[in-house]
């Protein structure tokens, strides 16, 4: 049984000017212990997808489609069951640790909050908290338990938040840009440690990020979102080696490589849009280097090409290398020359 199954998730938010579409037909699944990245830019809907899984959407939101966590449809859960789901099966890590932690409570109390609420075994919980702090790289963990959040730096506090998320041994970790606000050295450290912990506890993870390279490094599979729709789903190995969708390839090419300068940097024309502003047909049509008439007329279906899922009419041509138009570089192995 999959830890998470999202089927045809569509989302609208009611506003004063009418309903604003945010997501359309988002579908993906996560198996036990698997890490899946949701990658996208502004308007992609990646954060909203994450919130939909935990039913953390604003009251004006309307969803359709199903979200199953460990076989249970989250839409059918009552308040008590939803709370149980969030405390026992889900773990949350959001971008800003300071808004996730009550500054008035000590770290130790924060970590053992759920156990205390349920009048569970407190000494065992404290021991586990200590262990998790150590495993997430917090120095002097015993001292930290007594400290207040204000005494910790952002990077340290985020490690605490991650430890808290893993306290209840959740089956699924929901992480929304968890390391974006951290220094790169801290980011590398934290992600490596979380990976270790995850594998041990067989915790699955949804990792939302704008950084494609980061997603490939941390996740087993990656879902690329654009304008509220899934554009490509592939294993990290496949995606890193041969991305098929023009948008994914464009994203790779847009990142300046660390090893050399590229002049000019191949940039995707235009601006990332949300679903509300997307044209009919393929949402990427106005920015695509290989757009055809068919793309404007018909929204491509998400279909298997090789062992990937791609939403592009020309995916087969791209895979076979039959396209005559120059595409942004796909594979950026260090030895390869850059440019188109």
């Amino acid at each position: 049984m999959n830890v998470l199954e999202v089927q045809n998730l569509s989302l609208r938010i009611d506003g004063p000017g009418g309903a604003v579409p945010i997501l359309r037909d988002v579908t993906f699944a996560i198996g036990a212990g698997e890490a899946v990245g949701l990658v996208g830019e502004s308007g992609s809907g990646k954060s909203m997808t994450l919130r939909a899984v935990a039913r953390l959407l604003p009251p004006a939101a309307q969803t359709s489609g199903t979200i199953m966590v460990n076989g249970t449809d989250v839409a059918t859960l009552g308040r008590g069951q939803l709370r149980a789901l969030r405390t026992r099966e889900l773990g949350f890590v959001f971008q800003d640790p300071r808004s996730a932690v009550n500054p008035m409570h000590r770290i130790g109390d924060f970590l053992t909050e759920v156990v205390r609420d349920q009048r569970g075994d407190l000494p065992a919980a404290r021991a586990r908290a200590l262990e998790l702090l150590e495993r997430t790289g917090v120095p002097e963990p015993a001292r930290r338990l007594r400290q207040y959040p204000g005494e910790l730096s952002g990077g340290l506090l985020q490690r605490v938040v991650i430890a808290a998320a893993l306290m209840a041994r959740p089956t699924l970790l929901l992480a929304d840009e968890p390391t974006t606000a951290l220094d790169v050295t801290t980011q590398s450290d934290v992600l490596a440690l979380v990976d270790e912990l995850r594998r041990e506890q067989q915790t699955a993870m949804v990792f939302v990020t704008h950084d494609l390279d980061l997603a490939l490094a941390v996740c087993d599979r990656v879902v690329v979102l654009y304008a509220g729709q899934v554009m490509e789903v592939a294993s990290s190995a496949s995606l890193g080696h041969a991305p098929l969708h023009p948008y994914t390839r464009g994203l790779f090419a847009s990142r300046p490589p660390l090893e050399r300068r590229v002049d000019p940097l191949p940039a995707i024309d235009g601006v990332p849009a949300g679903l509300a502003d997307a044209p009919s047909g393929c949402p990427f049509q106005d920015r695509c280097a290989v757009v055809q008439e068919r793309c404007r007329a018909e929204l491509p279906p998400l279909r298997p090409v090789g062992d990937q899922l791609v939403r592009c009419h020309r995916a087969d041509e791209i895979r076979d290398g039959r396209l005559r138009e120059p595409l942004p570089i796909a594979v950026r192995a260090p030895a390869e020359a850059g440019g188109r």
């Binding site: 938010i13 506003g15 004063p16 000017g17 009418g18 604003v20 945010i22 502004s42 308007g43 992609s44 954060s47 909203m48 604003p58 949300g274 509300a276 502003d277």
Partner: protein, 294 residues
Amino acid sequence: MTAAVEVAIRRRRRAVRLPALGASGWVALTAVALVVLAALFAPLLAPHDPDTGNLLAAYARPGAAHWLGTDATGRDIASRLIYGARTSLLGPAAIVALSLLIGVPLALVSAWRGGWVAFVITRMLDVLFAIPGLLIAILATAVFGAGLRAAVLALAVAYLPYTARIIVSAAERERRQEYVRALTVQGASALSISTRHVLRNIAPLIASQSTVAFAYALIDLASLSFLGLAVQPPEADWGVLASDRDAVLQGHSTQVVAASVLVIVTVLSLFVLGARLAGERPTVRGFLRRRGAR
């Protein structure tokens, strides 16, 4: 919600320019508009001359000739109430205008310079905070004699710290914005940044704050007139009209009731309107809290 989603929703909202007034907001706006119209077009609306009385028709009951009856000297109550809107609105307007005229520059200077300048200004305002407004007004009338001018000046001074405090915190917040820093680097002067940018961005806040201040000024001025310290009879001011104890003792309470109702309705409408303009929901607690804080 993510930033992108908020932008998408906000773009849809652009068609609607006014902040959502809500049902209560529209009712309040109508009430205030009616009062203002009465003040502006009093000569056209009032059925009789407010100052001439017919002693033979003294204390007449409400009827066709005199909608709300007449007072002790036969003057038409309805006409006096309509004309009363003028002084009842003029005084508070002057109070608000004066407190803004002094308060806004003071607040901008304090927010901009910071340091000891802000310290001194804040302490001065704290002193004013500590003295109840009505007390200042009573003192002023004791020194300068009863009358509208003294009362207006005294209340303007009393309202200064309230106006200034809100503007200072808003201005300080604007000042920390990145665009102010960019303008500074460009070489724009503090004056131009304060007036062209900061002031324009906090103008909505000042507008809603002033509306509420107007409401309170109305009550305070009416109270002073009621006590005989501000507007003096035979001026037809609502506060004065509400203080006609003799009429009540003789069983003719129409004038007092009508005048009081007008004050209450106008003040509440202004409060509701001010809250709505600030984007808040007007609540009883909010109203009482602001009264209590004074």
